[in-house]
């Protein structure tokens, strides 16, 4: 089979084929990230647990005890934790995947492999953390002796898939943009901080005035977190339209992000 290299070389079927052929590289990248992350640390994997727990404690103190944000019958730590689970996944994945191309410039400049594996692996690897923090969530439920809806556990994977699609698209987009404009790495932490408060994580969405709920609708994170919380703790689950819209927005982000990435990836080696 002949391989042809010319100026316009990327086509989606070809990229998918290549990704499939190099799926082992994908496993290796995920494995490398995990292997590297806690090398030369004292407590190692405990960091995965420590971070969401510490954040939950701080937020509970600030927003539960001091600001006294109403969360109904649900204890504030339980209210805030699922949101933080999703949020941590999102921020880590976006930060890591947006840096993935620049951080691996030595590979990009010297070896050919489908570039898309880098941001995708940087996103997917955070599922491990998500899983661990989910286990902590079940421990919290036991600690507070709170029994949530079974619906929550069924809905969680679905919410996670939508979040994964949204994050992967955004991550790929930012990764390629970061190659060309290093401004991105300054914008991201700052944007994420703002987004944390624009997303109903530490407060319920119904606290937001009607005037502004419209904007929440187009924030997939808001919909994912709100619907997951409703699935776990709500008396009924009526969030399908909002969640559907979030899924749609996520798919659009995914398409655009991957599209921009594939369009620009051929210049990576020259510019990075």
């Amino acid at each position: 089979m002949a391989k042809i290299i010319s100026q316009n070389q990327t086509s989606l079927p070809k990229v998918l084929q290549e990704l499939w052929n190099q799926r082992e590289l994908f496993y290796f990248l995920v494995w490398r990230d995990i292997a590297l992350r806690y090398k030369q640390t004292i407590v190692g994997v405990v960091w995965v647990v420590l971070q969401p727990v510490a954040m939950t404690i701080v937020f509970t103190f600030l927003f539960g005890n001091i600001a006294k944000i109403p969360t109904g019958s649900i204890p504030y730590p339980l209210f805030v934790y699922p949101g933080l689970m999703f949020w941590n996944f999102f921020t880590r994945a976006v930060s890591a995947s947006s840096e993935s191309i620049v951080a691996n410039r030595n590979l990009i400049e010297k070896v050919y492999f489908p570039r898309l594996v880098l941001p995708l692996a940087a996103t997917i690897v955070n599922l491990v953390d998500f899983l661990v923090s989910f286990l902590v969530f079940t421990l919290l439920l036991v600690y507070f002796q709170f029994s949530p809806n079974l619906m929550g556990f069924l809905f969680l994977p679905l919410a996670l898939v939508v979040l994964l699609i949204f994050t992967a698209g955004l991550g790929a987009f930012l990764a390629s943009l970061n190659v060309f404009y290093r401004d991105i790495r300054f914008i991201i932490p700052f944007a994420l901080q703002i987004l944390l408060f624009l997303t109903p994580i530490v407060y319920p969405a119904n606290l937001v005035g009607n005037k502004y709920t419209f904007f929440l609708k187009f924030n997939p994170l808001a919909a994912i977190i709100e619907s997951a919380r409703e699935a776990f703790f709500g008396s009924t689950f009526s969030y399908w339209p909002g969640f559907g819209l979030a899924a749609l927005v996520s798919l659009v982000f995914f398409g655009l992000g991957i599209g921009v990435f594939l369009k620009s990836e051929k210049y990576f080696a020259d510019i990075v």
Partner: protein, 514 residues
């Protein structure tokens, strides 16, 4: 056989200041708002740098080819394009089979990972399946000689250990095409030897290898041939006549020039023509002027009739052919000179050799001359017609017998290709020869050999037959023995190639010597 690597008109340009220019989003926005759609493309064009400029070549299965050229001539860019790391600006590459690039040993290594982990990760990055790595693991470790440090992070390795491991991983890759960029000669002397042995083994396995290196010794040791990423110029040097030696001489000359030049379109070779018009008759318009106007790639030297007369009147008859060719050789600016004739059609095998194989310096390239039947119209001849066997009336085999053995003169005329510097070192053809029976081309080839230059037969040329082309002059004068070993290499005086004469520049393309 189908080539494994086929490169056609490959070019790559870089914007020299693009990195500085585009780092800040703010600047980009500023530029956009200031200039908007009226941004001048010309201003940006000026900053372009062609790392590769229209190169074409092909590599067959199992060949080991060296890529040579000075720093910045695009060698690494070529390999990067072949590896798929960076796209070409134009042109196309067709590859048959799996390709692996060894652009830098240890490119996939991570300092925090252990040797063992890096072997697996690096293998995966280079496209080696895990099973394959496991199968070769012992061999890789054994080759690198780092068994004891396998579970130590690579950052604690000495630099020697590091490159040894890196080379071992990449050298054990399975692929049909291997691209190697300066990856040899790592580690200490013993390990370098081991690397070269491994390379030889890979070559024996029949894989196709493209090998970039500054280490010319390694290249000539391992590679069957070399190719250059740089364009070079080749000057087709011939003598023009303006008398009635031949009917329609000018048209005839034009058609061979057009024909031969067309054979080089789309190659790395800048094909030019140098024409010396000797003794132009006053009543006819000068041949050179017509041709210069028609062909922008042609330069001409017109030698005044006075010089002709002077040489003819001298006590010993001097061969004007030598003087005229030397005038073109001495003034040539091209990289290579091809001394040929107006009735020569270059064979496609010869042209393919010139296109695909790097021409070495200090090597005289020759071609076998095939005489073809004279036909009325050569102006639109195609290679298939020229090289059609029924048209062939005879072959000059220039390789046999050797030049310096009887009958001495049976050389292949009209094709002598040598780099310009070497031509100038030889000072062209011997201007002191007074005996026309000596085959001039044989004499030139002999001097080149006596100066220690190599010689290589690279293909065929097709020569329009005229009556005496196959006359063996050695047989014609059986009693006479020429001592070719005498006065070789000959030395023309400092005045060779009409240096002492009055040179007048008529135009950019035309010189007049009187």
């Amino acid at each position: 056989m189908k080539p494994v690597i086929e490169v056609a008109h490959l070019s790559k340009k870089y914007q020299v200041f693009s990195r500085k220019k585009r780092v800040l989003l703010r600047e980009e926005l500023e530029r956009f708002f200031r200039s908007g759609i009226f941004s001048t493309p010309q201003g940006r064009e000026n900053q372009l740098f062609w790392a590769l400029d229209d190169i074409s070549f092909s590599v067959g299965a199992g060949e080991t080819v060296g890529v040579i050229g000075p720093n910045g001539s695009g060698k690494s860019t070529l390999l990067k394009i072949l590896a798929g790391i960076t796209p070409p600006t134009s042109g196309q590459v067709t590859l048959q089979g799996k390709i692996t690039s060894l652009l830098e040993a240890g490119a996939g290594f991570h300092f925090e990972l252990t040797g063992r982990e890096n072997i697996y990760f690096c293998g995966a990055i280079l496209g080696m399946p895990r099973r394959e790595i496991s199968r070769q693991f012992a061999e890789i470790v054994d080759f690198s000689g780092i068994e004891n440090f396998l579970d130590t992070p690579v950052k604690f390795y000495s630099s020697g250990m590091y490159v040894r491991l890196a080379f071992s991983v990449t050298a054990h890759l399975r692929s049909d095409i291997l691209l190697i960029d300066e990856a040899l000669a790592v580690g200490d002397e013993a390990f370098q030897k081991k690397c070269l042995l491994k390379m030889r083994q890979i070559i024996r396995e029949g894989r196709t290898i493209l090998f970039v290196s500054h280490n010319l010794a390694a290249i000539s040791d391992l590679c069957q041939r070399c190719l250059s990423t740089k364009r070079f110029s080749l000057e087709f040097t011939l003598i023009g006549r303006n008398d009635d030696y031949e009917p329609n001489w000018r048209e005839h000359l034009e058609s061979t020039i057009t024909y031969n030049r067309a054979l080089f379109t789309g190659s790395n070779i800048d094909f030019r023509v140098a024409l010396v018009e000797w003794n132009p008759p006053a009543k006819k318009p000068k041949l050179a002027e017509t041709l210069v106007a028609k062909f922008p790639f042609l330069r001409a030297i017109v030698v005044a009739p006075e010089i002709h007369r002077e040489l003819c009147r001298s006590r010993e008859f001097k061969i004007m052919l030598n003087f005229s060719l030397n005038a073109a050789i001495r003034t040539s600016q091209a990289d290579f000179i091809l001394i040929s004739g107006a009735d020569i059609f270059l064979g496609r095998d010869t042209v393919n050799y010139l296109k695909n194989y790097g021409l070495k310096r200090k090597c005289l390239y020759r071609a076998e001359r095939v005489s073809i039947r004279r036909k009325a119209d050569f102006s639109r001849a195609r290679p298939e017609q020229i090289e059609n066997p029924p048209e062939i009336v005879g072959i000059d085999v220039c390789d046999l017998p050797p030049y310096n053995q009887p009958p001495y003169t049976n050389a292949c005329g009209d094709f002598l290709l040598l780099d310009t510097d070497s031509c100038k070192i030889l000072r062209g053809f011997d201007e002191n020869i007074t005996d026309a029976r000596l085959h001039l081309d044989s004499r030139f080839a002999l001097s080149a050999a006596a100066s220690g230059f190599d010689s290589k037969l690279i293909g065929h040329i097709f020569h329009i037959d005229h009556k005496h082309s196959l006359v063996n002059m050695g047989d014609k004068y059986p009693g006479k023995k020429y001592d070719f070993t005498k006065n070789i290499p000959y030395a023309n005086s400092e005045e060779w190639g009409l240096r002492g004469r009055k040179w007048e520049k008529i135009s950019q393309q035309l010189d007049f010597v009187s």
